[in-house]
Symmetry: C3
Subunit: 140 residues, 3 copies
């Protein structure tokens, strides 16, 4: 096993703003965890204040892009992802979310779709989607 | 370590219907993640439409059976489970849930009960319980 | 790899009361999972009934202490933590929570802050904060 146990913060270059006291991703040993990503571009003027008009589809695609940016920075990709946790705010959003999610992953040619749990919670105003991911490095 | 890093979808034979764009379970390296399971039999006519009359107890036992089916398909069992995440919809359901859960696990002779986090969220209509589990393979 | 796959329950000496059918922590192989901890001292007369007057700050510090107690019992510490899941009950609590959390971690000299997902859920009456953590052992 060629991993050290030293935790490594995974911080893509775009993450010029700290949105809270946590790392966008952390890698320890064979695991890489991506922190919860929302549907706002990391380079947005105020990444903590999403445009409230963004649709479920728009926010989903942005959140998935944000997750992937951290995966890539940590030298992993969707095919290394074991589990995705999805937080939506309204059960009526599931169909639009799933359609967008399915389309996104078919575009990424993932042979094995990650496991997933989807639940409905509260999120800060304007946010409709939050997504995090646990990946296992390919070279462990 | 005799695991490859190739992700393997864990799909029990009963899962003849796809309930969404995700795998029922995924195994990568030493880890096996079971996706969120609800209190509906995978072979139900419409697994996404639970009988709304099912009690917390009934849904809990079915959800645990569904989790275990994926664990077994991936050659793990409850004693390999590190963490169980429980999603209920009402704090008044906790006692009935815990009684059912305790009884279920005493019947399975688990020496070490998994760690657990239980929170109260929204779930699609009729669903009262969702459960997912992270296992670590015994031969890593 | 010098871990056995035998699951080990991590039970600090203070946990004289069982608050539910789960282990405070479980270690299997390289992983240690801390179950959801709330803002009540494990030695409280009734650990399942928090003083409803405790502030977000007070509950946050207690929950973090409870998480750390399990980490320590399992021979890990904050620097081994990959991911922290935070459950709050009200988005208006985030600022106070984050201020407390930031202060706590700066006091613990964590070089790499864990990844984190924060969502807003229901919790039993009086509880404002629940926190769980996934750690990776340093000697894997």
């Amino acid at each position: 096993m060629n991993h050290t146990a030293t935790p490594t913060a995974i911080v893509p270059a775009s993450r010029t703003k700290t949105v809270g006291p946590f790392s966008p991703g952390v890698s320890i040993g064979p695991l890489l965890q991506v922190a919860g990503q929302v549907g706002v571009a990391p380079t947005a003027p105020d990444a903590s204040a999403p445009a409230p008009v963004a649709s479920v589809r728009t926010q989903t695609l942005q959140a998935l892009d944000n997750v992937r940016e951290v995966l890539t920075e940590g030298r992993t990709d969707w095919e290394d992802v074991l589990m995705i946790r999805v937080y939506l705010t309204d059960t009526s959003h599931l169909e639009e979310f799933n359609d967008t999610y399915r389309e996104y992953f078919s575009g990424h040619g993932c042979e094995t779709l990650p496991a997933r749990t989807t639940v409905y919670v509260g999120l800060p105003a304007g946010l409709l989607v939050e997504i995090d991911a646990l990946a296992v490095h390919g070279d462990h």
